[in-house]
Amino acid sequence: MASASKKTRLHGWHTAHGANMADFGGYEMPLWYSSAKNEHLAVLTRAGTFDTSHMATVLVSGSEALDLLQLCFTNDLAACIGKDKKPLFPGRCVYGAFLNEQGQVIDDAIIFQIAEADYMVVVNAGMGAAIAGHLAAHKAVADIQITDLTDNLGKMDIQGPAAAKVMQKILASPEAVFDKMPYFSFKGHFNESGPGADAVRLTDGAPILLSRTGYTGEFGFELFTAPEHFVNLWETVLTAGEEFNLIACGLAARDSLRAGAVLPLSHQDIGPWPFVRHPWPFALPYSDDKTGFTKSFVGDQALLAAEDADYTLPFAGYDLRKVSLPAAVLDPDGKEIGTVLTCATDMAVGRCGEPIYSITSPDTPEDCKIKGLCCGFVKVGPPLSAGQEVTLKDARRRIKVRIQEDIRPNRTARIALKKMV
């Protein structure tokens, strides 16, 4: 099994550093190095790095590129930026999904607008060819280039409150890079010849695309670089991060961090069912009155017709006991109403009474001992509201959990960059 998995360019580094490896999306990836818990906590209190080069990137360019993405992507690229719903513009990126005609998720993605007719679509591990193929199948004109960069791009994330301080040490002109760089914006390019490549360079001259995004809910960046610079970039970040106690983190911490941040895992929390009635309505182009969409796109009619679709809802338990999948969701009368999609442990949160506090919450009561909570997503028939209690049942145990509006409080992802340096 493991021998059939692909390896990222950091595979040797991971195994040399004691990583516990496992297959994820067809790649042999680190689950954790010495402790998934410590890695999870490091991202909340200091900083952590993640090898995310198993993820796939597809470039879409040409005069009709915008039309093609508007047809295939759920978010409205003409109305997605800020409160005023301005169009996407170069240097900004946006989250959404690619659906089939049945309104089911093929994969989720972040689309980066690099230049006027030049987009970068970042999808999940192993999905590059599928999304490139999906886009090619929907292109009406010849003047669109679709390039699948799977395995030909280095990607790593640095996440946590010290992330900017670490990057400050290794960027050639950090002040210029950090100026006007809000959440979901980016600068630079991973190719020497790419547009804007001079905007972000390391002190050794290597160009990177630096994006204020991530998958942890915490402050930080995603870094894209040419494959030949990738291992060096990883080691440079780790060395620069030593004084901040930055550590390398595996996919277990990534999963528990994203679950607490109410972010979906593609093919687990979103998948072959209609992409509606979930905690991510911002990924859909709802009109102001929420009755329709601001554009038409592949799958839109199926979504509008999905009147009996299930509800996907975040939950958190009362302690850190989990259920193993498959697991059912029972209502207070013991009736089965759905299934558990994700059940992870956010080690940085705990309940004191009903409210959830994080180890970073400034208002945690003194007698509140934070030990971690099980959390994740359920998919249920009835429209439960936050605060309602359900029971999760697997082959072994039943645990009571609460439907939540949000899980881990005091997340740092959106904090202004200038406050973090």
Partner: protein, 134 residues
């Protein structure tokens, strides 16, 4: 796996089961826990569920669960007996199972009902051979 087999701590004075529990004779009773290999595979142990004292359990019965950040795993009796004590420190300090799997991370103490079951468990060398084959 994180630890190479050569890096594992495998004590000489305990016997091992195929499910990676260990058993150690202490006078008339036997202490039971999980091996260094098992804790290393599980990752951070965050919760341990143990049986009631006085439970009568047969070899192969589930006696509790260990929950790591990765998964929930059953614990199986490596031999039959009556539970005379459980490690009361584990609920508050489950990390002991990671830090000291053969010491502070012990789980239950039993009065064995069939001493031959202990003698049939693997010694260190046999367990090591089994791990090499995994």
């Amino acid at each position: 796996m994180a630890k190479e087999i050569s890096e594992l701590t495998l004590q000489d004075d305990v016997r091992y089961a195929e499910d990676h529990e260990w058993a150690k004779k202490e006078g008339d009773t036997i202490k039971i826990g999980i091996s260094d290999y098992a804790q290393d595979q599980l990752g951070d142990i965050v919760f341990v569920e143990l049986p009631e004292v006085d439970s009568d359990l047969k070899k192969g019965d589930e006696f509790g669960t260990v929950e790591s950040t990765k998964a929930v795993s059953e614990l199986y009796m490596p031999l039959s007996g009556k539970v005379v004590a459980v490690n009361e420190a584990l609920p508050d300090d489950p990390e002991q199972v990671n830090k000291d799997p053969y010491g502070g991370g012990w789980m239950i103490e039993i009065e064995p009902s069939d001493p031959a079951e202990f003698d049939a468990m693997m010694d260190k060398d046999a367990y090591l051979e089994m791990l090499k084959g995994l």
